[in-house]
């Protein structure tokens, strides 16, 4: 073996990792925010739509879920600009990809959440004279949110890990920072040890924070 750990070079370039971690979080937050909108709209549409619309939404969901994320990232960044007249940065391209990706997973999450809303609640809403729109906003969505929150937190944490794929199109997030230090200092074992710890600590901190939110949301009001 004879490998001596030396973390000095890692600390000297730690700004690359710290900045990368912040960018990873930023990418995950923006993507899931857009993904939640996509997921909500399509899920609400799905449960009330006819067969054709259902088929189209199901096709989108199944397509995204069964194709590797890295291929989708390449497709949007290298493939799409060859057929449409659009110019966008790697970062924008990745956020768009991850948003579409998370949207597909969240449609499923929200759809099963909507179906789990007790029938009696909707009838009660109808009985006190709420319009369909009011029933959606004040009855179905809040109840659904409470049911789906744990699944939503899990999706967010796995998206945070998925941001590592952005490194393949040179978005300077955490994994890209790790590779930069790997290639420029050759302190290979050290950098991946540090990065592993950073992913783990951030992931568990997120999990802890989201569980607190879930508990607050369950008991409040």
């Amino acid at each position: 073996m004879g490998y001596t750990l030396n973390f000095n070079l890692i600390w000297r370039h730690f700004d690359k990792l710290w900045g990368g971690l912040l960018l990873s979080l930023e990418l995950a937050v923006i993507s899931i925010a857009i993904g939640i909108v996509i997921g909500l709209v399509l899920a609400v549409w799905y449960v009330s739509a006819g067969r054709v619309v259902r088929g189209i939404i199901a096709a989108y969901v199944e397509f995204i879920r069964n194709v590797p994320l890295i291929l989708l990232v390449y497709l949007v960044f290298y493939g799409l600009p060859t057929v449409v007249d659009l110019v966008y940065s790697a970062q924008t391209s990745f956020v768009a990809t991850l948003a579409l990706y998370s949207g597909a997973y969240l449609v499923e999450v929200f759809r099963s959440g909507l179906e789990a809303v007790p029938r009696g609640q909707l009838d009660a809403g109808k009985a006190i004279g709420l319009t369909p729109w009011q029933r959606l906003i004040h009855v179905r969505l809040p109840t659904m949110m409470r049911i789906t929150l744990p699944a939503l937190s899990n999706t967010f944490i796995s998206l945070f890990k998925d941001t590592s794929v952005a490194s393949v199109i040179s978005v300077p997030e955490l994994t890209y920072g790790a590779q930069w230090i790997n290639f420029n200092t050759f302190r290979i074992v050290e950098v991946y040890l540090v990065v592993t710890a950073m992913y783990l600590m951030t992931g568990y901190a997120l999990l802890f924070a989201l569980r607190l939110v879930e508990r607050w949301y369950r008991t409040a009001r």
């Binding site: 073996m1 194709v67 590797p68 890295i70 493939g79 060859t82 590592s164 794929v165 050759f186 592993t196």
Partner: protein, 216 residues
């Protein structure tokens, strides 16, 4: 355009065969390792339980990509030289093993405690309890998520392209490098991955329905 793709088909087919080969190796190796570690997690003494718990939580807490780079660049640095193919298989197998451990733990935990107590009462040994009572029942809970998880192995195998291994993903990128037909080739590749994974998740759903009943 179609002519160029047709010309590249044998090359893409080779890449696809490699994707399937990597996935198969990962699935089989992780099943063996995962079941052994999973039994250790459920029935092992405290140090084994802790070791497996830490292994599983660490591996599942980091991106597969980081694990792949760690194994691929890290092992030679400490003096272990693996071909890039085997480094990739090792990294993906470690990741999948952690998943199998969790599937197994969940499946065994779903079997009521009374079952193993009854088995103890009629004097079965530990091995007999596992072989005749616990595993046959846990198998039904284990199979659907495991088959569904095979799609993760196929999707994860696309990451080995980053180590210069010519799997389907890398073959597509190389053909694009020659022909500049990015969009048709990416869509073509996406459809191949889709066909494989959709078939797998369909099988998983069928099995889940098949095993939905509980025989008491």
């Amino acid at each position: 355009m179609l002519g160029q793709i047709a010309y590249a088909l044998p090359f893409l087919a080779q890449g696809f065969a490699l994707t399937l080969w990597v996935s198969l190796l990962v699935v089989v190796l992780s099943l063996i390792a995962g079941v052994i570690l999973g039994v250790g997690l459920v029935y092992g003494p405290a140090p084994v339980r802790w070791a497996v718990r830490i292994f599983s939580d660490t591996i599942r807490g980091i991106p597969i990509l980081v694990l792949i780079f760690f194994v691929y660049y890290g092992l030679p640095a400490v003096g272990i030289h693996l071909q890039s193919f085997w480094a990739a298989v090792l990294a993906l197998t470690l990741f999948k093993t952690a998943q199998v451990v969790e599937y197994l733990r969940g499946a065994v935990a779903s079997i009521p405690k009374g079952q193993s107590e009854a088995a103890m009462a009629i004097g079965l040994t530990f091995r007999q309890r596992l072989a005749y009572v616990i595993f046959p029942q846990a198998f039904r809970r284990f199979l659907p998520p495991w088959i569904n998880g095979v799609t993760d192995a196929v999707k994860g195998s696309a990451l080995v392209s980053l180590l210069g291994i010519t799997d389907l993903m890398q073959a597509i990128n190389q053909v694009i490098g020659r022909t500049y037909e990015a969009m048709p080739l990416y869509i073509f590749g996406a459809l191949i991955y889709f066909a494989v994974n959709y078939a797998l998740s369909y099988a998983s759903r069928r099995l889940e329905r098949r095993f939905a009943f509980i025989r008491d």
